[in-house]
Symmetry: C2
Subunit: 159 residues, 2 copies
């Protein structure tokens, strides 16, 4: 009876095998990708520091620069970001006077454009970005970097 009870308890003590957990940590695409993103974002953020922009903000300005005038929905699709996340990120840069938000002809939509201040911030940040990007390219080597970028694009295109 006592031994039965012990067996019952030991059933509750089931654990993921250590080997399995180790393997997961080494191979999980999501975990390793997020880890790299933390490292790389901090690298670009540090490089962009003098511009007052964070990497996420600079890339958002860049996307608008290319697509303006653009709606929230279209921009969200272009940068593979949830529409509501984009809405809030845009609002923040709008408060800083870098993005202009106007009603579109279709009144359901918003027409996003860069303000003069936004354009100037982007121009100022560019050489800092270029330097950071160059350092990564140099560290990885052009070939490995190109192949990596290709792999990353494959992930974005996941069905």
């Amino acid at each position: 009876m006592a031994s039965e009870k012990r067996r019952e308890i030991s059933t509750n003590l089931e654990r993921l095998p250590l080997e399995t957990a180790l393997e997961m940590g080494k191979t999980c695409t999501c975990f390793n990708l997020r880890k790299a993103t933390r490292r790389v974002t901090s690298f670009y953020d540090a490089a962009l520091k003098p511009s007052g922009l964070k990497a996420t903000q600079m890339t958002l300005l860049t996307a608008i620069r290319v697509l303006e005038p653009v709606t929230i929905k279209r921009l969200a699709k272009a940068i593979v970001m949830d529409r509501t996340t984009l809405s809030r990120n845009v609002s923040l840069l709008s408060k800083k006077g870098m993005i202009d938000i106007e009603p579109g002809d279709d009144l359901r939509t918003r027409k996003l454009t860069l303000t003069e201040h936004g354009h100037m911030a982007l121009v100022a940040a560019f050489p800092l970005w270029q330097k950071a990007q160059g350092e990564i390219l140099k560290e990885l080597g052009t070939d490995r970097w190109a192949s990596l970028l290709e792999g990353i694009s494959d992930l974005v295109a996941l069905t």
Copy 2:
């Protein structure tokens, strides 16, 4: 005089060339990495849905499973995450009863371990993770996936 003034104004209208902005969007390591991370995280989150865990939470439990008992600082270093971010993420899973936080022998430290509930959640989530991971592997093909993972590791190891 009028033309001089116009020239002055046109200086203020400097813009990042469209070509340059396009090139940045296509090549920026940070932007493309973050884009992929959004896509991949949403993919794993969807797969893990039935377990009630998000991908970030499952990987945190896994890391603790491997290293327990572990301090905040050591765990943060292992998963390349800011110490304060980790602190808060650990607190959330502690509130859910999956992680136990105790004072270490050195009273400055915290000793993190999985609770029974944490172990069980991890065991339950594992097959869901395995399926998602398998689908990515299948979609990319083993070779491309392995080379991608290697590239991602290179990024993590950036100087």
